[in-house]
Symmetry: C2
Subunit: 331 residues, 2 copies
């Protein structure tokens, strides 16, 4: 297995410790496990918690900080965090105005976050939840009832996080998080798999010059396989599905070209070059663009396109200041 690791069973522990050591002014790791919280707790605001399996770095610890999350809970690689972990995170960040859980739609994540919320409710912590489900590729599968939550979730962290930072109520923060979820769509493709270190072999196998269209962020099957096409054709394939799923006509949008971990930035930029042209042709105005690794799948070679339909509130909150390890202010 061609990886820079030590003991596969310790990967998630070591990476979370490394993240905490890299950003000591911003992050603090709880003693009880792989939960990263803001170094300085902010009282009186709605506290946001998210998370999922490890292997999606910089998600989710990279989004903890002013203007985004208050806590990120990391399970083992591609494995839901336990209810206990989530509960410890909730307890740590809870304020008197409540906690919002931002959960990506995978059966295990949803179940474990909801169990944690029940545990917190028994201690009179008010917890609400939104479930991100931006992937237009696959609906109902072995892994998920409904659609999967993928890279578009980063927009939920940013926009709901900004509103929480302004001092909005739990109902208001939940509403804007849901608005982002209602307005963002994502689809991805991959040309090479990733290997969960503890498994020691790739999660799937693709032929030379073959791609998986609509792949999930854990390497779950997409809609189909077909011969690899040009970058522009692949981008068009994904855009077609996304734009058919929501009416973007005449809208301003934010675009995220997300790298899966093994795909070089060179390719992400040349993909965006064409995405920008296609959107311009269709009269869809790009307000802001993100290109980079925001929600990875270890070293998978692939990318996804997310498109968020914006209104004035979302534009304002997208542009609000954030101070976290992984959010870039630009665009």
């Amino acid at each position: 297995m061609n990886k820079f690791i030590n003991d596969a069973a310790q990967d998630e522990n070591e990476l979370i410790q490394g993240m905490a050591k890299a950003y000591p002014k911003h992050l603090r790791k709880l003693d009880c496990g792989n939960v990263l919280v803001r170094a300085k707790k902010k009282q009186g605001k709605v506290a946001l918690i998210s998370g999922g399996g490890s292997g999606h770095e910089p998600a989710h610890g990279g989004y903890v900080g002013q203007g985004m999350l208050d806590a990120a809970v990391a399970g083992a690689v591609f494995t839901s965090p336990t209810p206990d972990q989530v509960y410890e995170g909730i307890k740590e960040i809870a304020t008197d105005v409540g906690v919002l859980m931002i959960v990506k739609n995978y059966t295990g994540d949803v179940m474990n976050f909801e169990m944690a919320a029940e545990m917190a409710a028994m201690e009179d912590i008010r917890v609400e939840e939104v479930i991100a489900c931006d992937d237009v590729a696959v609906k109902d599968s072995l892994y998920t009832v409904g659609r999967r939550g993928v890279a578009g979730t980063v927009f939920v962290h940013k926009i709901a996080g900004a509103l929480a930072e302004e001092g909005a109520s739990l109902d208001e923060v939940k509403a804007v998080a849901q608005k982002v979820i209602d307005n963002v769509r994502t689809m991805g493709a991959a040309i090479a798999p990733c290997t969960v270190p503890a498994a020691g072999k790739p999660g799937f196998v693709l032929g030379e010059d073959e791609m998986e269209v609509g792949i999930g962020i854990h390497g779950e099957p997409g809609t189909h396989r077909e011969p690899l096409k040009s970058a522009n054709e692949v981008a068009e394939l994904l855009l077609e599905r996304i734009l058919a799923d929501l009416d973007y006509a005449g809208s301003e949008v934010a675009v995220l070209i997300n790298g899966s971990g093994g795909t070089p930035l060179m390719e992400l930029y040349l993909i965006y070059n064409h995405v920008a042209d296609v959107l311009a042709e269709k009269g869809i105005q790009v307000y802001r663009t993100l290109v980079g690794e925001y929600m990875t799948s270890i070293e998978m070679q692939g990318f996804s396109v997310s498109i968020l339909r914006l209104d004035d509130e979302m534009k304002r909150l997208l542009d609000a200041p954030a101070d976290t390890p992984a959010w870039k202010e630009l665009g």
Copy 2:
């Protein structure tokens, strides 16, 4: 060739166009070629220009903006930009206080940047130069006289860029750039090669579980090959060479764990976890940490460690505001 590209010969054109489209408020592409400059020229300051082959994204276009570079010139993949390109960049950004070229030490880059400077001198543009040479692995090779300039160059962009933004003179900006070069050391390793699209095959071949120690950012040979060790052992191997090359005892340092493009962030964070411990043991105090892809080698699986010995001036300039697509404010 498993890549999301269109026409290999157009890669660098498309990626630079994509970068310019992604950040229109920050970047402008010159009509004459792959030169990215600040969207709004700032007069009265020393103008900084850097560049090199494409394939190192986000370098160098990602470092153009307030507080860093004024122009980035991109050659074909892993190929020096031409003197004409550099000259066009210099002409565009030149101000009455002069231009500083930050060149990584490769024979072709140095030659072409210096020819461009001569062309500019004929038009009475004052141009000075510093040559980054932070790689401790290899001295004098087919590619370079002296040491190679690699990821540590990003610190030169940041610190010299910040001083230029404050209105310092060309001599002062050159002096601080040279001070960074004198105080930064880097070394890397790789476990899988990258493929220059136009070549269509990997630049080198490694056996299963074999690594190249001291590899260059274009995949040039390092010091030797050996069986892949644990991440901690590889980190120690690199640190040993770096720390033997400069006296860091009792210093405050900035650390960059730079991903080569195909190595997942998970691995970079777990590598930093150990680097932090080793430096702490040695009494070297980490002032600031950067972990991520700052100077890549297309999809090479590898990483480098850069350590910059800081003084008060460099600390201040490292922390100064910057507004570019790829520089993260954190640490």
